[in-house]
Symmetry: D2
Subunit: 359 residues, 4 copies
Amino acid sequence: MLKVAIVGATGIVGQQAIVSLTNHPWFQITKLAASARSAGKPYAEALREANGASRWWCPQELPPEIAQLTVEEATAFDPTSVDLIFSTLDAGVAKELEPKWARTTPVISTASAFRYEEDTPILVGGVNMDHTALIKVQQERRGWKGFVVPKSNCTISGLVVSLKPVLTHFGVKQVIVTSLQAMSGAGRSPGLSAMDMTENVIPYIPGEEPKVESEPLKILGTFNGQGITNAPFGITATCTRVPVLDGHLVVVFAQTEKTCTPEEVKEVMLDFGADFCRLGLPSSPPQLIAVTDDPFRPQPRMDRDRGDGMTVTVGRLRKDPILENGLKYVCLAHNTKLGAAKGAVQTAEYLVKYYLKWL
Amino acid sequence: MLKVAIVGATGIVGQQAIVSLTNHPWFQITKLAASARSAGKPYAEALREANGASRWWCPQELPPEIAQLTVEEATAFDPTSVDLIFSTLDAGVAKELEPKWARTTPVISTASAFRYEEDTPILVGGVNMDHTALIKVQQERRGWKGFVVPKSNCTISGLVVSLKPVLTHFGVKQVIVTSLQAMSGAGRSPGLSAMDMTENVIPYIPGEEPKVESEPLKILGTFNGQGITNAPFGITATCTRVPVLDGHLVVVFAQTEKTCTPEEVKEVMLDFGADFCRLGLPSSPPQLIAVTDDPFRPQPRMDRDRGDGMTVTVGRLRKDPILENGLKYVCLAHNTKLGAAKGAVQTAEYLVKYYLKWL
Amino acid sequence: MLKVAIVGATGIVGQQAIVSLTNHPWFQITKLAASARSAGKPYAEALREANGASRWWCPQELPPEIAQLTVEEATAFDPTSVDLIFSTLDAGVAKELEPKWARTTPVISTASAFRYEEDTPILVGGVNMDHTALIKVQQERRGWKGFVVPKSNCTISGLVVSLKPVLTHFGVKQVIVTSLQAMSGAGRSPGLSAMDMTENVIPYIPGEEPKVESEPLKILGTFNGQGITNAPFGITATCTRVPVLDGHLVVVFAQTEKTCTPEEVKEVMLDFGADFCRLGLPSSPPQLIAVTDDPFRPQPRMDRDRGDGMTVTVGRLRKDPILENGLKYVCLAHNTKLGAAKGAVQTAEYLVKYYLKWL
Amino acid sequence: MLKVAIVGATGIVGQQAIVSLTNHPWFQITKLAASARSAGKPYAEALREANGASRWWCPQELPPEIAQLTVEEATAFDPTSVDLIFSTLDAGVAKELEPKWARTTPVISTASAFRYEEDTPILVGGVNMDHTALIKVQQERRGWKGFVVPKSNCTISGLVVSLKPVLTHFGVKQVIVTSLQAMSGAGRSPGLSAMDMTENVIPYIPGEEPKVESEPLKILGTFNGQGITNAPFGITATCTRVPVLDGHLVVVFAQTEKTCTPEEVKEVMLDFGADFCRLGLPSSPPQLIAVTDDPFRPQPRMDRDRGDGMTVTVGRLRKDPILENGLKYVCLAHNTKLGAAKGAVQTAEYLVKYYLKWL
């Protein structure tokens, strides 16, 4: 078993990482780290508020062996005490601490701090595993024995998975998306106000649209030996928040280079990622994309847990009535599983086996 | 006071028509009609279910003088007993009954039955009052002394109001919309299931997208003496249902003919409809469009009642990063006020004063 | 493997029975039956609506081998074709059909049709297994080789489980309860309207309070050789519906015969049912009652799935400030698992092993 | 017009006070005060967050003349600059500042700081206007020219209004309540988390039950010349939070001294407060209690705005099946109108006219 640490363990993404790693066949959580406020306390106690409430927010029960781990202070954490670090810190702290750890130890991060660095890939399971080669560039340029590999923004997980087979087979000219994003994406400290989110929609998510308009181009780009050449198309987005717990729904209007029918698109989507799934990584689903013919699906609450939260569900595939080579569909991905903690675990699984070759 | 009837009075739109007409300075409800099941009963009793529940669904109290009106059977209703009929029937029944009444009496309808007839205008307050001229064509062609004027689909109310000034000043080339529609649009008998709509989104509304892609082109078209020449651009739509009670939010990506800045668009939107508002119709708001600079607005729950549900709120006006002459914004309209019953009342007010010239 | 049928298979409780029986170690679903409308079609097709929607309402995927089973007509169902029947019919139909099947075959029913028959026990796992003896009375009196054993009303599942150890150790004098019930309890055809249940509470559930005030007295009563002598205390209830998907929360004010402290009550609750759990029935949880010290728990969404929906969570145990020997607490049970389909499966497991002795 | 100040003006209760005072016939807001952070800025600007969002949380538009008032610092506020002060501060700050202002100026407070002082009445419109006499005791004992009169806790508003006529006519022996409280009661900074309140119930509200168990006894008590003698009965409560925006629903099990029928109780409730309503205070409703026969009512969303939020709605009045002289009902009151800001305005109206005799 490889020893792993979760840094940022008291936050909601850290908690979800704990859930994603419970009973994992390769990884064992041996260290938890968080801010000074939590340091020195058993994890369960660090989550306990003055009024008796527990800030353990997952419906899954906190595993007793994790509950009693003593939380260390993130700034003083010794990266050599584990084989692998999952960092679920906020971007600011991540920018400072992750490079220190990466000198000796691989860091898989859900923070955005390193996403836009030229020598850093944003890996999405089954989509761009060839970008793994960029890690070596990062290690050489920075003199690191470890590395930092960040997760993509949670909103685009479903989008890039669904676009990849379209891009491969038909080319993509332009993509117009409206996202209907779940509330869990806004975190828990305190996250969104119930008074704002009850029977309401908020048509703006600060900082989100620029990420949605740029990250997919890097992820869907090509490794050029020293970096990534972005995919050659444009994305425009409006990102909204809807009263849904988990599961980001993205409404897509895409224009392809080549003409294609909805049936052809369905076929390439269903075929997509079969090789990657056959690797049998513990966190991989049986299929990367499910395509539903029920016109009322995908729905966040009904479809987000498909493939235990790692399968993207595409529905309403149809020809656009006015756009040239236009295609309309909606896609759904679980933002805190595929889009965050569990996606990070899957990335770690891939890197441990095929990049680090520790298994 | 003009005597008006509401036919379809027990349904939710009929109820909202009652609310919209309560204390109206020009119109007095003297007749209510509905299906055979309700006929012959006082209205309050017709709404009473076997288990004691009342099917009066509006938070406003049912006015006592309406509560005791005896409901007549719609199929036997005598149109000459009133000056004006508000029809809130389903499309099928409307198609059959509205023409009979129109022989003698003006009919304002929230049904879609006549929307696509060549000799029938779809009037939206302040947007296309010149289409009123088409009513004469309808009356002459059909030999009616009355007429049928239908309301537009509720989803497009906000869209056409917001597009009209853009079309006038800058021209429109193409419009791509995603709607996030409120649950009240699905009616109440029984309407949507709570089990489907709790922390969920349904990405499909049967029959909605074709309407959203075509009706605005007629409403924004030009009267050619015998009919309407559609506006010369294309619309593509994905319509979704979100867990919101009232207020349809529409996410718009528009391309204009002429280059324009968000500031210029804001200005023409704010100016739009000033003449119409100055007519002082009882159901008109002080302004047709409010443009908000708060990036988190419009929100359905916070903005739907602006102008007592008759003002469209536009927000997030910004330049599109990839579309040529591209403009992004969101707009919100109250689907059961501007988009249905109260909009119908406003149309009636306009026609009574400026077409029928009864006041 | 024992062959089982689900009758009422297209309804929501039938669907939950399918989920509860998926991968069951003892039972294999070999027959599905429903109304004439569904008969003759493969199950997945029987669930398909005209507009393409599927009425499969569970987030778990429909198992492919179940999807293709041909649905039989309930009224023509041959009970000898299976070893055991799960009936999830409405009470009216159940009253008529269940006795026919019981002539030859054991019937476990979620309907209320037989609950109040003198020769019929209402079995709740771990609470009153000695009532099993009443089945023989039923079989003899009615000349049945099979039997009918109904599930209790879903609301009282948590209540009777939590009251049993209190009754045993301290006696119960009086119980005053307010229930906050989940929407799934109202079914799905169509169930509650989203317009009624959005940010709202409905303070009445037709027919519920009399059940809550009487069924627990039978379940907590004693087998007297020929029937059940009711437990000797009174219950008064107000039942309300809250906007929660699953999980009935019951607020309890109880008065005991003997004085007891909250700590003593906690202890007897935690100990309760250990023997029953040790039987290791496939659907049994590790503990019947969990008692939480977090004052903000139990919460329906966070605690309903404890013990895979079969553990009752009790919280806020405290002394009442005014009632003599008064005890206050809240308890939560999963209404469609413990309180319905899965509870029925557990009852079947017990009866197959300890009454029928087939295993 | 009397000049009034709102101190705590940027908080949600302060905002609701602004709404309650808009277009008031007697009172004009001339001063706003808040914490140092807001001081010196125009009110609208003080509400503006760094990201452009406005913290004006009411659906009613902020009146322009209020928007431009410069906010003063609460700690430096000059009480002699106004005739009357509405204090919507938190209890801690209120305890310190309200006595300073009361030396010269009447203070109506929504804070709990003074509720339990012996010389301070908790006034509830129509329930205990005779307690007004206690103000003189307060003024004399403390040497104040002004006074502090606090509002009751929001949860009990509906309870005390509904209990008063029962107490008067039949006597009350014991009251057992479960509250289902709206989220707005938890404030807005940030208030409850949307992740906690989505399809969920929280069975605990810190500090609430002791208030619900004690305040009504003072309010329903009798003035004894120097203080209040508490009403001679006991209350026990469990307070829960439900996903409702506004409107606290309270489920009541009451035992009366004298036998009474539900019809008799209905009658005394309907009669209650007629004299008080006839005073015609601007914020008073036409009736204090509405009693509904629809068994599915009152519902928070449908009934909270009755009497513009100042009428209590009682429903489900019925005899208790087990409690001696037992009565069951539910009552609903608007927690931020009757239960907070608007109730405070009504109290001020009463005191200005009948205690201060300024009008």
